[in-house]
């Protein structure tokens, strides 16, 4: 809590910054942030099950059609097939962007929720900034998702459609809200006597919090180590293989060797799978680790029994480890490993939902005990 409140008004503002009242900026950001991450993960799961593999197959088919058209000497069909590849890749790209941006904005909201005690603005201004961020954080991914379907319909611009315009507006809202918070954080630095702000979230030493912090760090470290291994062992080999397989496709097409062409196409598909798997392992381990660490700070505001808080922390970490490990094993075990990885993702979602419900249930016990403590001190 603030140790040097200069007036009762300042004290009330400081308390509002730190406490977790319903509809306060901090609570809005925490609940909204976890909500964004939950929806982003669900979108990712649905995308992985219903879109990812089907889309990859269509890209492969179009590339195969382009190669066979080249072998038949039909340049027009080559251009048509490669345009289809572009369209399938755009479809895939916008779905991945929707998933990634929802989760990234969720992280941003959680970070800003943690930083609220240092944002020296009125509670009403901070609430407006929180709403602005949450609206923008939904608008951008929804807009990006619709880009593939809306296209340039009724657009006033030649190259940018309405979905892109709304997505950009969402991005601008997020940047505006983040900038407002940064201004609030920077404001006290201009004053000669800065009030010391201490936050109860940083003092929590509960088992669930410590498990999430240590587990999150381990996951980040594993993700870094895997990334370093991939960069050192596979990255350059994959890049060379990408070029050599495409080169083989053009050479075998020009020599009319259909079986060698098909073999190169199969190799290219396999290579795409290997790259995607390694990138997914690296990214998911680090992102789950970061999320675990962020969630560790919110444990005091999760209104569940300590035993349940510990259980959900372990479930979260277990799912966070299962997903990347079994995504990596997909190359050897195929769909079985993919199914287990999806189950791991589901465990993460369920644990996150449980924590979200715990935060919704929170009715101010900690704030009340802090206020009592402050009163006794005075």
């Amino acid at each position: 809590m603030t140790s040097v409140p200069s007036s009762s008004n300042t004290a009330a503002q400081d308390e509002a910054r730190i406490t977790f009242a319903p509809m306060s900026a901090r609570r809005l950001l925490a609940l909204g942030g976890i909500g964004l991450i939950l929806v982003g993960m669900l979108v990712g799961d649905i995308f992985a099950v219903f879109v990812l593999h089907q889309n990859a197959a269509k890209v492969g088919e179009s590339l195969s059609a382009a190669s066979h058209a080249a072998m038949a000497g039909d340049a027009n069909a080559v251009a048509g097939s490669l345009r289809s590849v572009g369209s399938f890749l755009e479809n895939r790209g916008t779905k991945v962007d929707t998933h990634v941006h929802m989760i990234a904005f969720g992280y941003l909201a959680l970070m800003l929720a943690i930083l609220q005690p240092w944002v020296a603005l009125r509670e009403s201004t901070r609430k407006k900034a929180a709403w602005m961020l949450l609206i923008g954080a939904w608008l951008l991914p929804v807009g990006v998702f619709l880009i593939h379907y809306v296209g340039l319909a009724y657009s006033p611009l030649a190259a940018i459609g309405w979905a892109s315009i709304f997505a950009d507006l969402g991005g601008a809202l997020v940047m505006g809200a983040t900038l407002a918070c940064l201004v609030g954080i920077a404001r006290p630095f201009r004053e000669s006597k800065r009030p010391e702000v201490e936050d109860v979230l940083f003092k929590d030493r509960s088992t669930a919090g410590r498990v999430l912090l240590a587990g999150g760090l381990m996951l980040i470290l594993l993700g870094f180590l895997h990334g370093a291994y991939y960069a050192g062992v596979d990255l350059y080999r994959h890049e060379a293989l990408d070029y050599s397989l495409l080169s083989q496709m053009t050479i075998t097409a020009s020599t009319k060797n259909a079986s060698a062409l098909d073999s190169a196409l199969a190799g290219y598909g396999q290579l795409g799978g290997e790259k995607a798997v390694n990138i997914a392992v690296h990214a998911h381990a680090i992102e789950f680790g970061l999320l675990a660490m962020l969630l560790a700070f919110f444990q005091p505001y999760i209104s569940l029994r300590d035993g349940w808080k510990r259980n959900w922390a372990w479930v979260f970490l277990f799912g966070s480890l299962v997903l990347p490990v079994f995504v990596l094993l997909e190359l050897r075990l195929g769909l079985l490993a993919g199914g287990i990885a999806d189950a791991g993702g589901l465990l993460v979602i369920v644990a996150l939902l449980a924590m979200w419900i715990g935060i919704v249930r929170y009715s101010g016990e900690l704030d009340a005990s802090l206020s009592r403590g402050e009163g006794e001190k005075r």
Binding site: A66, S67, A69, A70, M71, A72, G73, D74, A75, V78, A79, L82, G86, Y107, M111, I114, L182, E196, F202, K203, R205, R210, L213, A214, L217, M218, I220, L221, F224, L225, G227, A228, A231, G232, E239, D242, Y243, L246, S247, M249, T250, I251, A253, S254, I286, L290, M293, L294, A296, F297
Partner: protein, 171 residues
């Protein structure tokens, strides 16, 4: 707030800004051109094959290779600067729970920031030169980040010592 913690949070915010500014510059001035070039060179290669022009196909494919090499690295630089910035900020939040002396924690914070800056910088330098040095910078940066993070994990798992706060109070 301890100096090491402030360094990590401020360094993380600065690195995130750098990553975002770089990403905005890249998206406006380079990304579309590179993506367009990748698509065109691939189409040109297959079209040349259809016409029976093997040399043209090879030349277009080499152009594709160069553009893809640059595109992958530009996207990686943007993603890694911002990703590492987030790691630095979150580590900053939790840094009081690392059970090392103040000096050691400050050194760790400096190493983390240096590594987080150098690793993507090395990757970016690879788009200018395919030589040995850019790779060495990237490897050194990533090694610094990984080693520091391993020590932070160790410090957080250490038991039996209380963590002194900057203002003198103890938890």
């Amino acid at each position: 707030m301890s100096a090491a913690r402030r360094l990590l949070i401020a360094g993380g915010i600065a690195l995130a800004l750098l990553g975002m500014i770089y990403g905005a510059w890249y998206a406006v001035f380079a990304e579309h051109q590179e993506l367009d070039g990748i698509g065109k060179s691939l189409t040109a290669s297959f079209s040349a094959t259809a016409r029976g022009d093997a040399a043209g196909a090879e030349a277009a494919l080499k152009q594709y290779k160069e553009l893809k090499y640059s595109y992958d690295r530009h996207v990686d630089v943007h993603g890694h600067w911002i990703g590492l910035a987030m790691v630095l900020i979150v580590l900053g939040f939790a840094f009081d729970q690392v059970r090392f002396e103040k000096k050691a924690k400050m050194a760790l914070a400096r190493c983390l920031i240096a590594g987080a800056l150098l690793f993507p910088l090395g990757v970016l330098l690879q788009t200018f030169s395919h030589g040995y040095w850019p790779r060495a910078v990237a490897v050194a940066g990533s090694a610094l980040v990984i080693a520091s993070l391993a020590l932070v994990t160790l410090g957080m798992m250490r038991r039996g010592r209380t963590v002194p706060y900057e203002n003198g109070s103890r938890n």
